[in-house]
């Protein structure tokens, strides 16, 4: 099911205004993630209000932290399907869920935030867990 741009645009902009690179094609995903070097945080965006409505503000808070991944990118599940599928291939041990976040270091997943770890939590709680991972791995 394709979601109308009118619906998804605010959700995209909530992410891109943070300076996060949105990856819309497989080529864009490969260009960023194919290097397999350094730290990359991948945010799998979602239209789900229940969880994504908390995840995006959490990402905003977490990126204000002093220690951050070298790159932060996003793909939009249910919107940019091929790019999302390609991005997920870099963390294929983990079941697809959206929203979710994967922190990779030198091509290996070092921290993963599933949707079930986001649901029902305040953005501050999610952000605190993310920044703890930044401190540990970045």
């Amino acid at each position: 099911m394709a979601y109308p741009d009118l619906m998804t645009r605010p959700m995209r902009e909530e992410v891109t205004r943070l300076g996060i690179q949105e990856l819309k094609t497989t080529a864009e995903v490969d260009a960023v993630m194919g290097e397999g070097e350094g730290t990359v945080l991948v945010f799998v965006n979602s239209v789900c209000g229940c969880a994504a409505g908390g995840a995006r503000p959490a990402l905003t808070l977490a990126l204000q932290h002093g220690v951050k991944p070298g790159k932060v990118v996003s793909v939009f599940a249910g919107v940019d399907g091929e790019a999302t599928q390609r991005a997920r291939s870099f963390f294929s041990d983990y079941q697809p869920s959206s929203p979710s976040l994967a922190l990779l270091k030198d091509g290996e997943v070092v921290h993963f935030v599933h949707r079930h770890m986001i649901e029902g939590k305040h953005p501050q709680q999610i952000a605190a867990e993310l920044t703890a991972a930044f401190d540990k791995y970045c």
């Binding site: 229940c50 079930h116 770890m117 029902g120």
Partner: protein, 90 residues
Amino acid sequence: MSGHVFHPGHDDLHGITVVLETANGRTVIGRWHERVEKGVVLHDAATNEPGAQQTRDDFVARSLKFGVKPEHRTLVVSDEIVSVRKLAEL
């Protein structure tokens, strides 16, 4: 929250990934949608039957770490439910 909520009006567990234990020993993990007359409606659900090769504890632990394998896009659990817990709180 950012306010982009498109499905208000559901109960408190709507959208939350839960672990259901049934009276017949079945364990079901999925995203709670709603309770209806026939039972509980879950999305993207996985089940662990009594006597399965994978133990219940392993099933839950693996789901916690690697996520829920969505064996059923939508599943109505009509068995008697003896416990409901949030996966993230286990």
